[in-house]
Symmetry: C2
Subunit: 107 residues, 2 copies
DNA sequence: CAACTATTTCAACTTATTTTGAAACGCTAA
DNA sequence: TTAGCGTTTCAAAATAAGTTGAAATAGTTG
């Protein structure tokens, strides 16, 4: 395999291909890509942004985004699992709100 | 549909459910979720981070991430389409590098 | 132009994610 | 305890995304 000269030179300056590769940790990549996956669905990203404006019960989220109960529950769960939102039961309702992590990804 | 009292009060204070909904623009959501989708795949996120350390030809990326040509090309294309990286032909090779947008998402 | 190297494209296939609707669960109040 | 409302769960079906390997393209060099 050949390599363009200028790139080869720059790579050597940085300690070679292995040194560069080692700067990117697979564990960090795996963790962060999971967060991005949760954010990659328009409905979920919208919900996250709504909740960053105002904590809401499922019924109000549903009214805003106009979707089915089970679909909404599915997406809320993914946001919750990835640590972007949390829900607390309050009588008959569950109020969802963004976590500290979630606030980082407000558009 | 009933709504928990404290939430209802907070929502009213912010101008009602419609006002809150209108703060989140579907166009922004659609655009941003596309970027997150590109970042949600571990291999892609790894490549983005590698390129943020050092612009590389496809052959060197391939050597680092140990994957097939066509698979790599597929993922590079998704990163490119979402504006996170760009490639410029240089003789026989294509050198990929992160864009300004891409640099924002370095881990 | 022919041979060569690096990279991309394509269609068939596999795998992962999302949607659906019905049923179940949990809390509250009668 | 039963009824009612808000929410979740489940499995089946639908859709989207990723993988594969062979063939094609594009640039370079002799």
């Amino acid at each position: 395999m050949e390599i363009p000269k200028p790139i080869q030179k720059q790579v050597q300056k940085k300690g070679g291909i292995r040194a560069i590769a080692d700067l990117v940790e697979d564990k960090d990549i795996a963790h962060q890509s999971r967060v991005y996956h949760a954010l990659s669905e328009p409905l979920r990203l919208k919900i996250l942004n709504l909740l960053s404006i105002q904590p809401l019960c499922v019924c109000l989220i549903k009214e805003i985004v106009k979707t089915s109960d089970s679909k909404l529950s599915y997406h809320l769960n993914i946001l919750k699992e990835s640590g972007l939102i949390e829900g607390k039961q309050q009588g008959n309702w569950i109020i969802y709100y963004v976590t500290k992590l979630g606030r980082k990804y407000r558009i």
